[in-house]
């Protein structure tokens, strides 16, 4: 298996990078080793080393470098898989799907990898029936799955299908088995497979709350050891979703990290969830902001839900700001105090206050701190 490294390879930066990634600590160090592997004399012309370096870069969130170097594997089957992973993680599910569906690799083990990757992309894209069909069509390879090192990946994909088809308990069991196999292989990193978090969500859907919370907390601890924004953001959002209480603080931390990681698809889902929770506690202004942001992530699947949620909120007649109100609002947003705005525009402070309260009302926001979102 390409993920396994042996003692002779201790000087190969690509092998070290993979080892660091599997161990799941300190992603900048893993990325540093992968960067080194792309230039190292022993690695730069070796497809296995390049492949390892690219996998590490994808896991470490450095999609820019992965993208700039992916074509160095152009003659190899792994090229399509790496390209499709980069597309998927950048939120371009259509490209990810087309790449994988365009032709299965000749080598059987790589074929299986393409199948599981495709199934996950289809689930992300909301095409669950197609995902299930793809999985079943390759069921004849069952014997091969059983013995293959790809078994965890297969289980994770099957779990994703179960979950999307409304079978959370089956999903939970598959995720746990996936984790069991990974642990046996020495893989503990959520950057390779976030099985604890996924299992937590499945357990939550199956109303096993205590289990869900324990798994989610463990996942967050592991994610923080790795530290990469997408991994940490995903773990935070899982804990936010399954934890009792309010969870909005966890979810907004998660949203910021997923936005930075460019995880459009996950981001849209979290913004929706945040919106629901804020609306439930009566904070319509903040909820509206989250729904609008969800619609803006450009994730088609959630766009529809966001506009429906917006329509359900009590309507505010969004009226255009007058010129003076607009001016006052921009100055307030730029950080000027009411006094400074008053001096600049030759107004009294109370006039500025009146303008600002009109602005808040018209934009449906709670105050100064929400202005920047609303004006943009």
């Amino acid at each position: 298996m390409l993920l396994r490294t042996n003692a002779q390879q201790t000087r190969c930066p690509a092998a070290l990078a993979i080892r660091q990634t599997i161990g799941g600590t300190d992603f900048p160090e893993a990325a540093r080793l992968a960067h080194a592997a792309l230039d190292a004399p022993g690695c730069r012309d070796d497809p296995v080393c390049l492949w390892r370096a690219l996998i590490v870069l994808v896991a470490a969130g450095d999609l820019v470098t992965a993208d700039a170097n992916a074509d160095r594997l152009l003659d190899h089957t792994m090229h399509v898989q790496i390209r499709s992973q980069i597309a998927r993680l950048s939120g371009d599910l259509a490209t990810a799907r087309d790449l994988l569906a365009s032709g299965l690799p000749a080598v059987k083990s790589l074929q299986l990898l393409s199948v599981v990757l495709l199934v996950e992309v289809l689930v992300d894209a909301g095409d669950v029936d197609e995902a299930e069909k793809t999985l079943l069509a390759n069921k004849s390879d069952q014997a091969r799955w059983q013995s293959s090192a790809l078994r965890p990946a297969f289980l994770a994909a099957r779990a994703a299908v179960h979950r999307a088809q409304g079978r959370p308990l089956a999903a939970y069991v598959d995720h746990l088995m996936c984790g069991h196999h990974l642990l046996a292989m020495g893989v503990t990193s959520p950057a390779i497979a976030p099985w604890r978090g996924r299992a937590a969500l499945a357990a939550h859907a199956a109303q096993r709350e205590e289990l869900a919370q324990r798994l989610a907390a463990e996942e967050l601890a592991a994610a923080r050891r790795w530290g990469e924004p997408r991994t940490v953001g995903t773990a935070l959002s899982t804990l936010g979703c399954v934890s009792g209480g309010d969870g909005t603080a966890l979810l907004s931390d998660a949203a910021d990290l997923l936005a930075v990681a460019g995880a459009r698809h996950e981001l849209a889902a979290i913004r929706l969830e945040l919106g629901h929770r804020l609306a439930a506690r009566g904070d319509d202004g903040a909820a509206r902001g989250e729904y609008v942001s969800a619609a803006r992530t450009g994730d088609e699947r959630h766009q529809q839900q966001a506009s429906e949620a917006l329509a359900r909120l009590p309507s505010v007649t969004v009226r255009a700001l007058t010129r003076q109100e607009d001016l006052v609002a921009s100055l307030a947003e730029a950080g000027l105090s009411n006094r400074a705005i008053a001096q600049r525009l030759f107004l009294t402070i109370s006039t500025v206050e009146v303008h600002l309260s009109n602005v808040y009302r018209k934009l449906g926001v709670n105050g100064r701190k929400d202005l920047s979102g609303a004006l943009r």
Binding site: F27, P28, A31, R32, H35, A60, G61, D62, V64, T65, A68, R224, G227, E228, P229, V232, G233, L236, D253, D256, L257, A259, V260, A261, G262, S330, L331, A334, G335, L336, K369, S372, G373, R376
Partner: protein
């Protein structure tokens, strides 16, 4: 008003007549992927006696790559950013109010809010700057270090998990491009938001890199945080030494002169505690007066007297403020 002619906007505005090599150098710089090639291309263009536009773009490329070959004309938002760095916040605000919203102007506004201590708004500005930058495919922290800036703001508003992750993400991107200034800046944020026991080492490396790069604007905050980290560990003499040399570097910069002087005054005050007062103050962080008295083998009355002296010498008003000062700045070891 703002005219956009910098590398940060070149992909949208670059005129078609630009040299092919200029466009490639600009593209690499915006993505932040291949510094060596970008430098080589820009130098080639400059040697070839290219037209003014090309020269401007290539000067930008070389500046961001840490090999300046002259001073390029920076856009108003970028000028605003430099004004904030110099502590001239009012002028920066004036410049900024005339600017259209862009990644650069949002970033500059974040710096302005940060300088005024409005860290929650600075955080939102930096993230918005990042969104604007990514929307136009600009992922080089040498041009817009929004991720580390957001990390520092997140740290200030008490969101440690986000802060750390953002800082480390920028370090990865900074190493990809690889100039000393950009890496030093990212490492500064990592030191601030990461493990406390690695802070001094990381700040020291950051200070060395920024000093090598001659990046004064970034060097002063990094040195300031280094002094603070040394103080937290009880290494007050070293901290005072860092402050003293920082003051020489900060000459003419009111913002940082004030900050460094405040820190030095605080360390001076801590240094005036007697050994017994230091011990009492440290123990008082986690214990009641009675427990402190038992620990030191003195009466409660003596502990109270010591603490009164400590409050007076440190200019703090109560137990809570004392705890904060001691935890943040440590005490000089007796």
């Amino acid at each position: 008003m703002c005219t956009e002619s910098s590398v940060s906007t070149a992909a949208r505005t670059s005129p078609e007549h630009c040299d092919e090599r200029t466009l490639r150098a600009v593209g690499l710089t915006r993505r932040g992927t291949d510094r060596a090639t970008a430098i080589a291309l820009a130098r080639e263009v400059l040697r070839s006696g290219a037209p003014d536009d090309d020269v401007q773009y290539c000067l930008h490329v070389l500046t961001y790559a840490g090999r300046p070959a002259g001073k390029p004309d920076f856009t108003p938002p970028r000028q605003a950013r430099e004004l904030v760095d110099q502590g001239r916040c009012d002028e920066a605000l004036e410049v900024l109010l005339g600017c259209a919203e862009s990644g650069e102007s949002l970033f500059a506004r974040g710096r302005l809010n940060q300088a005024a201590g409005r860290h929650d708004r600075a955080y939102a500005d930096f993230l918005a700057a990042g969104r604007a930058a990514e929307a136009v495919g600009m992922t080089n922290p040498a041009i817009l270090p929004w991720c580390s800036a957001a990390a520092i703001s997140a740290h200030e508003v008490g969101r440690p998990v986000v802060a750390r992750s953002l800082a480390e993400a920028e370090l990865v991107a900074a190493r990809r491009w690889g100039d000393a200034r950009t890496v030093g800046r990212a490492l500064h944020a990592v030191a601030l938001t990461g493990d406390a026991d690695r802070a001094v080492t990381r700040f020291t490396t950051a200070v060395r890199l920024l000093s090598d790069a001659g990046a004064l604007a970034e060097l002063l905050p990094a040195r300031h945080h280094l002094a603070q980290a040394l103080a937290t560990q009880g290494r007050h003499e070293e901290a005072v030494a860092v402050c003293a040399s920082s003051l020489a570097i900060a000459a003419g910069n009111p913002l940082w002169t004030r900050q460094v002087e405040e820190l030095r005054a605080r360390l001076d005050r801590l240094g005036r505690l007697t050994p017994q007062e230091s011990r009492t103050a440290t123990l008082a962080c986690g214990m009641s007066n009675r427990e402190v008295a038992a620990e030191l083998g003195v009466t409660t009355r003596t502990v109270e007297l010591h603490l009164t002296q400590v409050y007076r010498k440190l200019h703090v008003k109560g137990r809570r403020e004392l705890n904060r000062v001691i935890l943040r700045f440590g005490v000089t070891p007796p």
